[in-house]
């Protein structure tokens, strides 16, 4: 009798604490997972006193009450399901701190990040060439930063490039050409002058094929000869930009004519064989540029695909977007080879490192992640800001270290350096 008297008193603070933890952990997920649940059993959520009493009791009865015993816990641990000790540690050659072998040194990353207030508006896109970094923003000016100087000075600004602001900018792999697409629907080509180290106006891509709504995301081929652009109705146009007439040479359809899903992103492979595009309805397409046909229609993300990137060797396609998952596909057979999970917000940008070893991803909650492709895990996470990141880019490798840059709604460029590269 005495036990029953004080038991409730003892039990209540415990259960309170437990429920508080439970809410703390579940809040981020409730929004996502509640829907399917409440469709399936809407009856249970109805609030009618008395009506549900019986059912509620049986639900309660169905809940397991046994506490996991010590021996059970131990046997699970012995089976290798518990956290393991971390013993692959080494000294970081860069800073001397202890780091995990084969991982980026968090300490070095933090020590070496730099912030540059760059634009007066959101930076929507970044593009890198061996010596420069181009940034495009909601203002009409394009900025060029010198990446050979450790302080990344502003080398050149191109005023009036896009009257209404610029949403996409890209460079060719050889670093000689750049292309930018503005909110007004115009597409401009830029040429790199090796002597002055500046970017010069290379003219506009014009004609009936370029009009508002006709060009959204863009990508340049390795030598800057071809430009691919996505459209509102899901087509992908390819222009021959080496030629001054800048004629449209190819058009890929991704649905029946004029009814495809909005093309949110596009990428060309280094060897020029493939074009990949990501769409609002979650589909990812890979085209064979030689035959001009669809090679694969890749499904699995279901939500808008905001970034697509082909690996430097052309063997993998990474796609990501609102689902918060990075899906990796194989270009040989179009197989889905794996998912990288960890982002909790829309992924806006992806970029492969030069070697194809690492993948960089940026998301709307301001987090940037570096993924090791070989091991399929996230090796570094950084959040300089809680504002949206619109673009993340590796800088072409100079010397031993890998560097990347992020930009977005905080209107500045953040540079990160990995100290060793090993």
């Amino acid at each position: 009798m005495a036990a029953t008297a004080f038991l409730p008193r003892l039990a209540s603070p415990l259960s309170l604490a437990a429920s508080r933890w439970a809410t703390f952990y579940t809040t981020p997920y409730t929004l996502k997972f509640l829907p399917s649940l409440s469709i399936a059993i809407p009856g249970v959520t109805i609030n009618i006193p008395g009506l549900l009493g019986d059912i509620w009791e049986s639900v309660l009865r169905a809940v397991p009450k046994n506490k996991v015993s010590h021996s059970k816990k131990r046997s699970r641990q012995m089976a290798g399901k518990a956290l393991k000790d971390v013993n692959h540690l080494c000294k970081c050659p860069g800073c001397g701190e202890i780091k995990r072998t084969h991982r980026l040194c968090q300490h070095c990353l933090e020590a070496d990040e730099r912030l540059l207030a760059a634009h007066i508006a959101d930076i929507f896109s970044l593009a890198a060439s061996p010596k420069t970094l181009l940034s495009a923003s909601g203002s009409s000016t394009l900025h060029v930063h010198d990446t050979t100087d450790p302080s990344y000075p502003l080398k050149q600004s191109i005023p009036g490039a896009h009257k209404l602001g610029c949403h996409h900018i890209c460079t060719s792999r050889n670093g000689l050409y750049a292309a930018s697409a503005g909110f007004g629907g115009e597409v401009k080509i830029w040429e790199y002058n090796k002597e002055t180290g500046e970017w010069n106006d290379g003219g506009e891509v014009t004609g009936p094929t370029v009009k508002p709504g006709e060009v959204w995301a863009i990508a340049l081929s390795e030598d800057g000869g071809y430009l691919a652009g996505t459209t509102n109705d899901g087509r992908i146009n390819v222009w021959d930009v080496a030629d001054r007439s800048r004629a449209k040479i190819r058009e890929y359809e991704t649905g029946s004519a004029g009814s495809g899903s909005f093309g949110m992103c596009v990428d060309l492979s280094n060897d020029g064989k493939f074009t990949a595009s990501g769409h609002q309805n979650g589909s990812v397409y890979v085209f064979n540029n030689d035959t001009g046909r669809i090679l694969y229609s890749l499904s699995g993300l279901a939500k808008p695909v905001r970034a697509v990137a082909i690996s430097p060797a052309g063997t993998r396609v990474a796609a990501a977007g609102d689902a918060g998952i990075i899906a990796i596909y194989d270009t040989k057979h179009g197989e889905h080879v794996g998912n990288l999970t960890g982002h909790s917000s829309w992924i806006t940008s992806l970029d492969w490192s030069d070697t194809g070893e690492y993948l960089l991803s940026g998301s709307m909650d301001g987090k940037v992640k570096v993924w090791s492709i070989e091991r399929g895990v996230c090796v570094a996470t950084h959040s300089e800001t809680d504002k949206a990141l619109w673009a993340v880019r590796w800088l072409p490798k100079t010397g031993r270290s890998e560097m990347f840059c992020t930009a977005g709604a905080n209107r500045s460029l953040s540079f990160y350096r990995e100290a060793t590269g090993s």
Partner: protein
């Protein structure tokens, strides 16, 4: 799609009389009870739905049913029944539009909701209004309005629109518009026109300000939800009367259906309109609100999504969100 006084309201008037509301509640509950009985006996769930005006043609909707459409229809009917029940219990009037926004994906189109609501009303043998569901929201006030100031000056009578142009300096005026190019255009019109009015009359008069919806609101909605649950839990702890307890419980019940996908995608037309507004905004210089609008339009195009005001509310109740937002903006 409109300025606050018209759309941010909670309608408190109840059509019909209360005895009828009680009868309707019990009729809905009897339907739900029969479903529970089926559930308990392990039988297939079903609802009889009258489909034609004459009250003769009835359709039996089963769950899980023979095809996916039937299961979906069952879920739709059940959700509407629940919302109507909650609305009747708490004395709130819902609009068909609000019901649609409770679960856009489930309903697919507004027409589906309209048809089912009519069907349910026929099945229960009542008029749609008696379900506390109306076609569209009516303003808190409409028509001429006069304001009596403390020094006994009287402004007006003027309509809501004219009042905004009147620039009553004591009252800060906010615009709550849809997060889409047309919504921003409405705001641009009010802001721009009140700007010219400022130049003509009184420079110190603050213009209309933009309350939302902004891209940040879409991203922050989760944070707001946390805030509101904290808020409601504190009110629940205080001793409350029978009626307020009832409305609290019904509210948590409605927010249990908080499962809609938040937003829809921009159409080609939306994108064209957005670019058009961006061009128009180029002419307006040195206005912080316009700079923000410019940024929001660009971000909207980048995100490729839009959201209507109804997306923010909880079963037709915007008041909590407005409190939360105005608290931040007003000193």
């Amino acid at each position: 799609m409109d300025v606050i006084p018209r759309d941010g309201e909670r309608i408190v008037t109840q059509p019909g009389n209360t005895t009828s509301a009680g009868a309707v509640i019990s009729r809905i509950e009897s339907i739900l009870e029969s479903i529970l009985d089926c559930l308990a006996e392990g039988k297939e769930l079903c609802i009889d739905l009258t489909t034609a005006r004459d009250g003769q043609t009835t359709q039996r909707v089963h769950f899980p049913g023979r095809c996916a459409q039937e299961a979906t229809k069952f879920a739709r009917i059940l959700l509407i029944l629940q919302l109507a029940h909650d609305a009747l219990v708490s004395g709130i009037v819902l609009t068909k539009r609000h019901i649609f926004y409770q679960h856009q994906e489930l309903f697919g189109s507004q027409r589906t909701v309209d048809k089912l609501v009519d069907g349910i009303a026929l099945t229960l043998g009542i008029h749609r209004d008696e379900l506390n569901i109306v076609a569209s929201s009516k303003g808190v006030f409409s028509g001429p309005l006069s304001l009596r100031l403390l020094d006994d000056r009287v402004i007006g009578p003027a309509t809501g629109d004219a009042l905004i142009r009147f620039n009553c300096p004591q009252i800060p005026i906010f615009a709550l518009v849809d997060y889409d190019p047309d919504g921003l255009n409405i705001f641009r019109c009010y802001r721009f026109k009140s700007n010219t009015a400022i130049q003509e009359t009184d420079v110190t008069t603050p213009g209309i300000r933009w309350l939302g919806i902004k891209s940040q609101d879409l991203l922050e909605y989760e944070r707001y939800l946390n805030h509101s649950t904290r808020h409601s839990s504190t009110t629940q702890q205080s001793p409350t009367s029978q009626s307020s307890q009832e409305s609290n419980s019904s509210k948590s019940s409605i927010s249990s259906t908080e499962c809609r996908d938040p937003v829809s995608f921009l159409s080609t037309r939306d994108r064209k309109v957005a670019v058009g507004i961006l061009e128009k905004l180029l002419d307006v210089k040195d206005d912080p609100e316009v700079v923000e609008a410019q940024r929001e339009l660009q971000v909207m195009l980048m995100m490729g999504v839009k959201a209507e005001i109804q997306w923010l509310d909880e079963a037709g109740n915007l008041a909590d969100w407005l409190d939360f937002k105005l608290e931040q903006l007003l000193p």
